[in-house]
């Protein structure tokens, strides 16, 4: 490229403008799929709605003063005693389902993102250490990872919550315990390839401190697959949290996530009052599908092998 540039002279200025930075390429390739763009749009919308829930929700579902038991189990579109419209109906305590969903999203997303983030930090660090140090540390870490991954996620979470009892922090802890192993395995396999490349050798020749090589040189180059699995892991964490809460092992009733809202409506399902469970389920589904759409496209864009 350098030799070309001097020869091309005047043309080189236009040439440099068309050269893509990696970020631009990722944005362009990501935008190639309208489905993925739609997923991203929905996801951003869901996140915004969750963040600004207190401002846009018609009712604060935690404020008992605003609830009226007389309004219990009203079908979607009914009017409250005070003249407010319950667009998605109310639950057994007269709580507006729409408001419940908006606040529930905060907890579902919060638990999912927080657990995936901590799991990523823990798992990636252990994976890096395993790949870079090798030897006994690697054997021990990877054995534990193998052991952990041979049990289904829901079972591991169930075991932890059976011992710890329910609560938001316990659920986050259980999800971290479930997820770190996937991060550790992915990071290690990527790092094993990366550590044999020249730039690591160069860094070692400069006698940089080990932590610097690990976190400033090796880690950034292992990030693409980590970003991809992170999206999937957040979706999995949200689904798992909802499942655990549905089973009565997750978040407490004072902090209802989408899963708990669905569980609340479960008993009314048989009497045809579907909306109490149905709409929180739709919200959960939309969130998970949106994340998966974005994740799928990210995987195609960031994975060099998948590029044709």
């Amino acid at each position: 490229m350098i030799a070309d540039g001097s020869a091309l002279g005047a043309a080189s200025s236009t040439k440099t403008r068309t050269i893509e930075t990696p970020l631009r390429r990722i944005v362009r390739e990501f935008s190639a799929s309208s489905l993925a763009l739609f997923g991203l749009f929905v996801l951003v919308l869901v996140i915004m709605v969750a963040i600004f829930a207190p401002a846009i929700a018609p009712q604060n579902p935690y404020d008992l003063m605003q609830l009226d038991i007389v309004d219990g189990r009203l079908p979607p579109g009914s009017q409250s005693m005070a003249g407010m419209t319950y667009w998605l109906g109310t639950d057994d305590q007269g709580r507006d389902i729409l408001s419940g969903i908006l606040y529930g999203l905060r907890i579902s997303l919060g638990v999912g993102v927080a657990s995936a983030f901590v799991a990523a930090v823990v798992g990636a660090s252990l994976g890096l250490v395993a790949a870079y140090a090798g030897g006994r540390a690697e054997t021990v870490i990877m054995r534990v990872v193998d052991l952990q991954l041979s049990f289904p996620a829901i079972l591991v979470a169930l075991m932890i919550l059976a011992v710890l009892g329910k609560g938001v922090m316990n659920v986050v802890l259980a999800l971290i315990m479930v997820e770190w192993a996937t991060y550790a395995r992915t990071t290690r396999s990527t790092a094993l390839v990366e550590r044999n490349k020249e730039y690591i050798e160069a860094a070692e020749c400069l006698v940089l401190p080990r932590w610097r090589i690990l976190f400033r040189h090796l880690l950034p180059n292992c990030l693409p697959p980590l970003i991809v699995i992170s999206t999937v892991q957040v979706a999995r964490a949200i689904a798992l949290e909802a499942t655990l809460s549905f089973l009565g092992l997750g978040v407490p009733v004072t902090e209802p996530s989408l899963g708990l809202l669905i569980a609340n409506g479960y008993q009314y399902m048989l009497s045809g009052k579907f909306w109490i469970s149905f709409y929180p389920g739709i919200a959960l589904l939309v969130t998970i599908v949106a994340i998966n759409l974005v994740g799928d496209q990210l995987r195609d864009v960031l994975n060099p092998r998948g590029r044709s």
Partner: protein, 322 residues
């Protein structure tokens, strides 16, 4: 030699897990509450503490817990007033029945759909199948279960939504699949449990077909003038069966784990519903027995799958020798 090493490894895993469960329940949790009914008075508590050896050192307690576990003695369930292991074993056939029928559904539905999606990858039907499989992955099992009940039990009134229905005895165990009523009770939970696995099998088979189709031996079979039917059923299908068999085998374990969710929704009286009820009622001997039991089951399943895999695919054995 390989088998011996693998067996020792499995034994080690079980031992490690009993230590974890023991520590979890006796150190993090309160062992007095674990073993003594919550409504016991002070004198009973003091007597029970001595009786259960809770005044002894921890390693001593662990050894007696372990020897109890080896003999299948996990104490009595508070709720059922029967040995915990006995209650679990009674519930096990219901779970097995559900898990096996879910896997059968996954294979019977997943393989043809996956084959089609792989062979006609660009057709609209194939795209619909793949979109469906994405949904199958994304939809939370418990919510689909609720939808099933809403549509098929409440709105249409076609299928029952809870319980096992009539059962009939075979080998001294009650089974639902032997009666018509039992079968109708099984349809919804079995489909619910199978949904995720169907999606998985579709993807596996499709990926396998796409990988095998461009290979030389398929071209050669075409060149020989074999019928398309024979090429697909013999040459293609046979070669994608190994990963399918392995994954389905491994998934058996996770199907049992996920039956926790399905059983709770459809009030299916299996082990999964039992553990959830036990956790909610703080029936601790039951919880401990279930955890040890399920670890044992999983290690056993993994062992069987690994062994089958080495028998089916000699390359795995060669890997081990290196």
């Amino acid at each position: 030699m390989w088998l011996v090493r693998r067996l020792l490894q499995s034994l080690f895993v079980i031992l490690a897990m009993t230590i974890i469960v023991f520590i979890g329940v006796n150190v993090i949790g309160d062992p007095v509450e674990t073993l003594i009914a919550p409504d016991a008075d002070q004198i009973e508590r003091a007597r029970a503490i001595v009786q259960f050896g809770l005044d002894k050192p921890l390693w001593h307690q662990y050894l007696s817990f372990l020897s109890g576990a080896v003999h299948g003695d996990f104490g009595k369930s508070f709720v059922f007033s029967e040995p915990a292991l006995k209650v679990i074993l009674q519930r096990m056939p219901a779970t097995m029945e559900l898990a096996v029928s879910a896997l059968i559904l996954a294979v019977v539905i997943g393989i043809p759909l996956g084959l089609y999606a792989g062979l006609r990858a660009d057709s609209p039907v194939a795209k619909t199948i793949m979109a469906g499989s994405v949904l199958g992955f994304s939809l939370p099992t418990f919510w689909v279960g609720l939808l099933f009940i809403m549509v098929f039990s409440v709105q249409l009134g076609w299928l029952p939504s809870s319980g096992r229905g009539d059962t009939r005895q075979l080998f001294g165990v009650e089974w639902s699949f032997l009666t018509l009523d039992g079968l109708t009770h099984m349809i919804l939970p079995a489909f619910n449990l199978a949904l995720f696995k169907i999606s998985l099998v579709i993807r596996l088979v499709r990926a396998g077909v796409r990988e095998v189709l461009p290979q030389e031996y398929v071209k050669f079979a075409r060149a020989k003038g074999l019928t398309e039917r024979r090429i697909i059923l013999v040459h293609v299908l046979k070669n994608i069966m190994i990963p399918v068999v392995t994954v389905v085998g491994i998934e058996f374990g996770s199907t049992i784990a996920f039956s926790v969710v399905t059983e709770s929704i459809f009030s299916w009286p299996g082990m999964g519903k039992l553990i959830i009820d036990s956790i909610n009622m703080l029936d601790r001997p039951m919880i401990v027995a279930y955890l040890v039991m399920i670890v044992f089951l999983f290690v056993a399943i993994n062992l069987v799958v690994d062994t089958l895999y080495t028998i089916l695919d000699p390359r795995v054995r060669l890997d081990q020798k290196e």
